[in-house]
Symmetry: C2
Subunit: 147 residues, 2 copies
DNA sequence: TATTGTTATACTCTATAACTATA
DNA sequence: TATAGTTATAGAGTATAACAATA
């Protein structure tokens, strides 16, 4: 293992690991677990019902109940009645939660800077395209192999 | 959000998501959870003590005990006495576990094929280098920001 | 009837702390 | 004393199944 040159996929895997580590550390600093941060992130476009959150997070409704409970207890979100469907609740960030979302968005921009800082515009464009192609292939492979 | 062009970091994040999804599906097909697959993967270079596994997986020794228990019950690994240290155990793949490792290695090669298939040698080289630079920066950022 | 969210229950992964057997 | 691994205990995330309220 040691001393062997890394394959390109190794480097992608390494990037995945580093990403996860960095993000988890960020979330912990903000008092969020990864799962709760993920849910909060899903609200950056506006309030969602728990059902919509379950779909967005690819997780069961029961699971969303627990995550929202935690975020409510921490003061990051509130449950509000849905205006037209009395079965549903809308999960909405509190001001504190919205501020946290802002810092997440900012950290996101900073990450872009860190990762792409010293590349030329052309290199960034090529990388952007290559990543798009890889994503598309991986998506197709998942579709074909796992339905 | 919808319709907006994806930034390069968005594409990296998307790749991370797809990777995790694909791998988790593979592991489930092989009867492995993600954590157990990770441990088994760490054994691809040969047997390790549980202490070494705890370090490799960045996890507590107690946790390794549980994961090894599960893999032993499933017949993927065995605990063997360490030849020179009677406190330690060596975790070794069974033939079944080794076969599983082989399929993991093969799937890895296939992934390389899927992801890089239609790129030119030069494009792959550029991508390889870019990923190396990004990894290095992310590693440094983590080091600086989180110690 | 179908859907939204909850209660009940269980399993996996993770952590800390106390302990045993060895080094 | 220090290290390898286990037992004890606890908490978070996840799932399925049964249920109530509403559509």
């Amino acid at each position: 293992m040691a001393g062997q040159p890394l394959s390109t996929v190794d480097r992608v895997l390494e990037l995945v690991d580093l990403f996860n580590r960095d993000m988890q550390l960020s979330f912990e600093r903000d008092g969020l677990t990864q799962a709760r941060a993920h849910l909060l992130w899903a609200l950056r476009g506006g309030p969602l019902t728990q059902r919509a959150l379950a779909d967005a997070l690819a997780v069961t409704p029961r699971n969303v109940t627990g995550l929202v409970d935690g975020l409510v207890a921490a003061g990051h979100v509130v449950r509000e009645p849905h205006p037209s469907d009395r079965r549903a609740v809308l999960v909405t960030p509190t001001p504190a939660g919205a501020a946290l979302l802002d810092t997440m968005v900012a950290g996101y921009g900073e990450l872009e800077e860190v990762l792409l800082g010293a590349f030329s515009a052309r290199q960034v464009r090529d990388l952007h395209r290559a990543l798009g192609v890889m994503n598309e292939r991986l998506r197709r492979r998942i579709e074909e192999e796992w339905g």
